[in-house]
């Protein structure tokens, strides 16, 4: 059964519930398990890159909207120092979001070589 990030079942996401004020943003956010299932589907259709993206996405469900925007901003060219990206990777590791942490570390290595650090 499909559940929202909040744990609420899909069938309970109704207009009546909206009008009763019972639903919040987490009731219309995807659950990380659903993203992992879709990752498995992508893997089965020979698209490991899409699968990896969906697994990173599953990790990112733990971040709030504002935090997502912050990480994106940090990864833009010459926004972050080495230390800032290292700290970001450590924060993601702690979440735990190991695939996203690895992604940030990979960016850090590239940015260091290509002059894209702040």
């Amino acid at each position: 059964m499909t559940r929202a990030f909040s744990g609420r079942a899909l069938e309970q996401i109704t207009v009546e519930a909206v009008l009763a004020g019972e639903l919040g943003a987490d009731d219309v956010r995807i659950h990380p398990d659903t993203l992992r299932e879709q990752a498995a589907v992508a893997e089965g259709h020979r698209n490991p890159q899409l699968a990896a993206n969906l697994r990173r996405a599953a990790e990112l469900t733990a971040l709030g909207d504002g935090e997502l925007l912050e990480v994106y901003e940090a990864l833009r060219p010459r926004r972050s120092t080495r230390a800032q990206l290292e700290a970001l990777a450590a924060r993601l590791d702690a979440l735990p979001a190991p695939a996203c942490a690895a992604f940030v570390r990979e960016a850090l290595a590239a940015y260091a070589e290509r002059g894209l650090l702040a």
Partner: protein, 752 residues
Amino acid sequence: MLEGLARRVRLGRFAALDEQPVNRDGFAVEDPSLGLAALASPGDPAPSLVVDEHGRVIELDGRRAADFDVVDRFVAAHGIDLAVAPEAMALPDVELARMIVDLAVPRAEVARLAGGLTPAKLARVVALLRPVELQLGVAKMHVRRTPSIQAHVTNQLDDPLLLAADAATAVALGFRELETTVPVLAHAPSNAVALLVGSQVGAPAALTQCSVEEAIELDLGLRGLTTYAETVSLYGTEQVFVDGDDTPWSKGFLCAAYASRGLKMRVTTGAGSEVLMGEAEGCSMLYLESRCVSLARAMGAQGVQNGGIDGASVAGSVPDGMRELLAENLMVMLRDLESCSGNDTQVSESDIRRSAHTVPLLLAGSDFLFSGFGSVPREDNMFGPSNFNGEDIDDYLVLQRDWGVDGGLRPVSEARLAEVRERAAHAVAAVFAELGLADFDEAHVEAAVVANSSRDLPEHDPGVVADAARAIQARRISILDVVAALARAGYDEEAERVLAMARRRLDGELLQPAAICDEQGRVLSKVTDPNDYAGPGSGYELSPARRAEIASIRQQRSVAARLAEQDEHADHVRLVSRGPAAIGGDPREVVIGVSPAFARALWVTTGGVPVGEALRQIAAGLEEEGCSCRIVRIHDTIDLGMIGLTAARLSGSGIAVGLQAKGTALIHRRDCAPLASLELYSVAPTVTPRMYRELGANAARHAKGLAPHAVRNPYLEEAITARHHARTVALVSVERSLCESGRAPEELEVLR
């Protein structure tokens, strides 16, 4: 002599050609150093791939790892299937190219091998395909079996009611993705809400997006005010990427960020952007685009919008440019990603040239045939005019019908459009009122419903939209607020549909490649609706119902409807029988031979002249020249030559006029061959009463043994057969039904 003349004057022919629309387009001499080369450049690297013992790519397309730029680096790390690469890279380019078009090689096998190709190799392979081979490749390799199409829905004023009415219009026409943007960035939240609501009127489950700056677009998406995203742009060189304030990792993160909220997302690439930025590094457009497409796959994007996009006309300026644009779409498909196939920039001032850009793809089919058909009139397309716009809707519907292909659209009646436009405009006005964003009066709703474009709207305060947009942001209004507002205002169906769009993010099915929702709410994607084209009898086929829908353009007429036009003139003249026609003896007599259905079942010519009037004018012409006339119906043929000749053989002078009900007329003489008439009006729609009179007068002159100047058909510039042949077929069918083999000619008298 000639040289002297050439220096002094312009040839009229060249002066005329200079005025043709195509000559407003800019054409460039190929210059690979600037990237002005479509399919190949001396600066393109030779394909290569070297992997070390740890499975790391240490050389990609001639570049060592130490020299990798950010694009090389990302593609090398994630983009190439290293298990397949040794096999795929070893195949000759031409063999791979042939596998793409070989219908015996399954799509999946081609996609498997393409996964192991480097960007340079992929570009070289695709460059070998000629136009028809590109089309076949596209037909075979696009991802989703059922074709679809995306609309641009925008207006100059960011008027929410017009946006909603136009969104509902687009959905009624069949568009399944709707993209808006803003002339004023701060208006984006208002546009997103208007599009979200309007898109769910009339039919459920169309996807919507608002194309603006990346962070704002993501923010709107996270709150559910948009239901997919597309404008995550990628570039083929590092410098352009960084100039665009992004890197492959920042964009890759965006991919995951959108997916983390269940939002469909595709990236945007396309030839020409690097050339326009002066950073093509001497490479061809196709090679740079292959890098972009490879990067898209490496990042884990589900799809790519390309085929030029904003730079389409850069490709269009060089030799093979249009071919390159189609090859871009194919490369996306070969990487097994959704193709949203461009056609969203007007590539030419010439109607011929812009059609020639779009039609090959339309015939081949694609996941999205347009990454933005301008569903609104061009002046309201805030992306700039698309290759096809609101003015071209009927042309597009006719093209679908002409070729029997599914372009994703359908004819819609004016009544149906009025209905959905009104409901959409009211629904958005109600949402804005419920949420305390703005109050729109009924006059404004009405203006939006009937407007062709924002030019038809009355002047109103531009601050209204800005204030509403600011409030949506400040109060963090989300899709749930929109649902509640719709429900409170009594728009239960739309409330349910908008909420369904929120629910759709929860099951993740829209995250698979090429996912759309059809109007029954089913998800069609690579997973649920895979393209299985393998030649005739396979792949997407129009259902009988869909074929009938495409066929039923509002301009088509049945024979019965054509004949109803005839009935408006019924019985305006009566021809009564005076028995079998005899051979006349008066040398001043000219016979007028009329066709079987003339003034019996058919009453007006294709030129709009009532048949009695045509007859009267011919008789008057004869009379003016001192000849008498006798009317005879020829029953046993509908051929005008034989009608005229048969009449001439009954005529005392040996001269006759032949006249069909559809208006074609000639002068015949009894000793001529059937098809060798003396004079002929061959184009009935152009023949006027005055011309019938002249024909009568000339017939009289022939009867008197004179040699008159022949009547002439008027010169025509219009597509006269296209205008009239459908009607002619209906009229001929009536003539044929009344034709009686072996029945002798009959003498007629006009009763007025």
